[in-house]
């Protein structure tokens, strides 16, 4: 017994000393962002934004000395993404490590002309890449430039972009985080199409990719720019501004946003802050073509009022609520018209019909492309203005009262 135990523990010993797949930290290049583009000869061109650890971590290298850039971008070509990835090893001193990649940037030109299909498989197959990686489309620029752009606040721009999306999602509501799984899921499902955030560069292109960019008073910046509406894997159209927010509204992904309404005849003089919002979608399956009813329930505060209105009177608030309803209805309606015109079901009305009446859906799903634009949608908003911040009537109301006296 004792001998066997000894024998067993002895033979397990060499296995316990380490892992076969060990990767030491100093042998890895941590990729933060991946860019996918096409080279002129039709090959795939991949860019990888890689952190320079000694510059990013505060402890090593004299508190991020700034002698070297915080990150560097490798670009390489290949017949497919995998080949391009491994091809990059001729430039990288260490093995590329993808577990911390936060953004995937696709070229606008490629997804418009060739479609998105040939770019996503490896990202969703490789065990190293996390499925929380956010997908973007480089709008008006190319993925390489986006990744090469130096950021001003965070040390690594891919990190900064991911944070920008999170913040904007929370307070502005024209973008929805779309990770690789969500893109795949909406692409496969018959009753929905993907919608992917756009990423643009504002400012001097030349300066953006040099270290001067974060010393400059007016640096070139990456910013979120609309959402790309897809159809059969190809970029169909960009949804911008209120169209984009309308879509986010219907998809029930609004966390917070700002809506302007008129007050005392002054256009857009009251800014309403949406605190939370809920949207109910109902499909009416009677009749040949289903009808859909959208009801939005935004809960809001008054954030700014540049008009002489009496906020101590509850009727004023109710009046504003009515105006707000109209504004929300208008915006949602317009965005639904927009997607119906593009004939691409990014909202997932097909999914909704499938959930409501699977039998009926099985009949119409074959010609859903044709049915979708014909669907009649009614929009209703039932908003609540809960409180007007920490003061009652705006000072302009007092000014007006003074003047009247």
């Amino acid at each position: 017994m004792k001998r066997i135990t000894l024998f067993l523990s002895l033979i397990t010993l060499p296995f316990l000393s380490g892992c076969w797949d060990q990767h030491e930290l100093d042998e890895l290049s941590i990729v933060m962002g991946i860019g996918i583009d096409r080279a002129d000869n039709g090959e795939m061109r991949a860019s990888f934004q890689v952190v320079n650890p000694s510059e990013v971590s505060p402890g090593i290298g004299g508190g991020g000395g700034g002698k070297q850039p915080n990150f560097t971008v490798y670009t390489s070509n290949g017949k497919n993404l995998m080949e391009a990835t491994r091809n990059a090893s001729r430039q990288t001193p260490r093995r590329l490590f993808f577990a911390h990649a936060r953004i995937l940037v696709l070229s606008e030109k490629v997804v418009k002309e060739k479609g998105i299909y040939d770019t996503l498989d490896m990202i969703s197959r490789d065990p190293e890449v996390r499925s929380t990686i956010q997908v973007f489309i480089a709008r008006g620029t190319d993925p390489g430039t986006i990744l090469e752009t130096f950021s001003a606040i965070d040390k690594v721009s891919a990190d900064e972009v991911a944070s920008k999306l999170e913040v904007s999602e929370k307070v502005w509501g024209e973008n929805i985080g779309m990770d690789i799984n969500e893109v795949l899921q909406s692409m496969i499902s018959q009753g929905s199409e993907p919608i992917i955030n756009g990423l643009s560069l504002r400012g001097d292109d030349e300066q953006a990719i040099t270290a001067k960019n974060y010393e400059a008073g007016k640096p070139a910046r990456l910013y979120l720019n609309g959402m790309a509406v897809f159809k059969h894997g190809k970029l169909k159209k960009w949804a911008d501004g209120s169209n984009a927010r309308g879509i986010v509204f219907v998809k029930d992904n609004i966390n917070s946003s700002v809506i302007n309404i008129d007050c005392e005849g002054k256009k857009d003089s009251v800014a309403i802050e949406v605190v939370r919002s809920k949207v109910e979608l109902k499909a009416d399956m009677k009749g040949e073509i289903p009808r859909i009813k959208v009801t939005a329930y935004p809960e809001t505060n008054i954030a700014e009022a540049n008009c002489p209105a009496d906020f101590e009177n509850k009727d004023t608030i109710f009046k504003l609520e009515k105006l707000l309803n109209k504004e929300v209805e208008k915006e949602i309606k317009a965005s639904i018209n927009f997607v119906q015109k593009q004939k691409t079901d990014v909202i997932g009305f097909g999914e909704l019909i499938y959930r409501t009446d699977p039998k009926k859906w099985r009949k119409i799903r074959k010609h859903w492309d044709k049915t979708f634009p014909k669907i009649e949608v009614t929009v209703e908003a039932d908003s609540r203005i809960r409180r007007p911040g920490i003061r009652t009537s705006p000072f302009q109301y007092e000014l007006k009262n003074e003047a009247d006296r």
Partner: protein, 376 residues
């Protein structure tokens, strides 16, 4: 020969739960049914309970004997031996399959460059070691790991709720393509895997400390694990969406990877891998132990421990040899094993010997009464 260890009720319960969750929670169970996979699991549970009732019925007839000892009484000594050997091979094959599942998970998720035999041999050596110390050790380890698993399971559950990553619209509508596809995806896959695999416990029932509770506790444990499995599958789909959940090899791993609480609590895959290793460990251990028990009867070996190493090694090499690649392994698991291996061993043969027993009841009882002293 040492005195047979008696399994306490608590250990019986925890072993069943760990055994049932084992590898089933890892591979997407019933995913053929698309977003209705969770329904397929429940259907499997109901059907599996009936199989369990059949095994319990036979146990009640022979409360002192395991399967390998009452089979020869029913069908005759020689035919009984043949059936016993088949069962031994069956359990060994299942152990090999679970071991392969487990190794594949580790390989495709973490150790891409490691040969599967390295990972698998570490697992089987650990199991052999534990069983070498006796079944008692396994049963008691089960209690500890059950508590750990519950703790991890609950915290993952809370974190998933907290991260707000579930979209229940993904699992609606219920049976949207009609009930036929759901039933088709369920039979015979989900009743036989993992619920029907409870046939392994026919070898353990006689060693329970409180035999009366074999049925009630067994059923509770089965239903509990069935519900956990169904809930897990539903959550996988609600997190990943029907498409992704049905097209990844390990949905639970992918689902948990999406947890991200405030950019701080994230990448919890390691926790899942831990629970999966635990479940796999107990499942393989139970299969190995029962095949050793049968082998002991078939080949009249006195010391059960001397059989652990040979059978374990066969299982180890079997786990590598069952399929040349992972896709083949999964294909076999879904299309061949349930139909041509599980159904005969879990349903046809048990029904067959139960019927023979009912016909020859009197003579068997007489034989049992006269030879009971030599048998136990």
């Amino acid at each position: 020969m040492r005195e047979q260890y008696k399994i306490s009720i608590k250990q019986y319960f925890t072993l069943i739960v760990l055994f049932e969750l084992g590898s089933a929670i890892l591979v997407g169970l019933g995913m053929n049914a698309g977003r209705d996979a969770w329904l397929a699991v429940l259907i499997g549970l109901v059907a599996g309970v009936f199989l369990f009732l059949l095994y319990i019925y036979m146990f009640k007839q022979f409360p002192e004997l395991p399967l390998s000892k009452y089979l020869p009484l029913i069908v005759g000594k020689h035919f009984g031996k043949v059936l016993n050997m088949l069962y031994m091979l069956y359990f060994m094959y299942l152990a090999a399959r679970v071991l392969r599942d487990f190794g594949s998970l580790l390989l495709s998720a973490v150790f891409v460059q490691t040969p599967i035999i390295v990972v698998n041999s570490l697992m089987i050596l650990t199991i052999i070691y534990v069983l070498h110390l006796g079944f008692e050790v396994l049963a008691r380890t089960g209690e500890i790991f059950f508590a750990l698993t519950v703790l991890i399971g609950l915290s993952i559950f809370v974190l998933v709720l907290g991260a707000d990553i579930m979209n229940w619209n993904y699992i609606k509508p219920i049976a949207g393509e009609g009930w036929m596809p759901v039933l088709k995806a369920s039979f015979p896959v989900t009743p036989t895997f993992p619920f029907g695999e409870m046939i392994a416990f026919t070898m353990l029932f006689p060693y329970l400390r409180t035999k009366k509770k074999a049925l009630s506790i067994g059923l509770t444990a089965m239903i509990l694990s069935g519900l956990i499995l169904s809930l897990t599958v539903a959550a996988d789909i609600a997190i990943l969406g029907g498409h992704v959940a049905t097209h990844v090899f390990f949905p639970l791993l992918s689902a948990v990877a999406k947890i991200n609480l405030g950019e701080f609590i994230q990448r919890l895959d390691a926790l899942v891998v831990f629970t999966l290793i635990t479940g796999g460990f107990f499942k393989i251990a139970v299969f190995l132990y029962v095949s050793v028990k049968i082998a002991q009867d078939v080949f009249s070996v006195k010391e059960e421990r001397s059989l652990l190493m040979p059978l374990g090694i066969v299982i180890l090499f079997g786990s590598v040899a069952v399929a040349s690649n992972f896709v083949e392994h999964i294909n076999e698991g879904l299309n061949i094993v349930p139909h041509f291996i599980h159904v005969p061993f879990q349903l046809i043969i048990p029904v067959f010997f139960t019927v023979i027993y009912l016909i020859r009841k009197k003579s068997i009882k007489k034989k049992l009464a006269s030879g009971s002293s030599t048998l136990t």
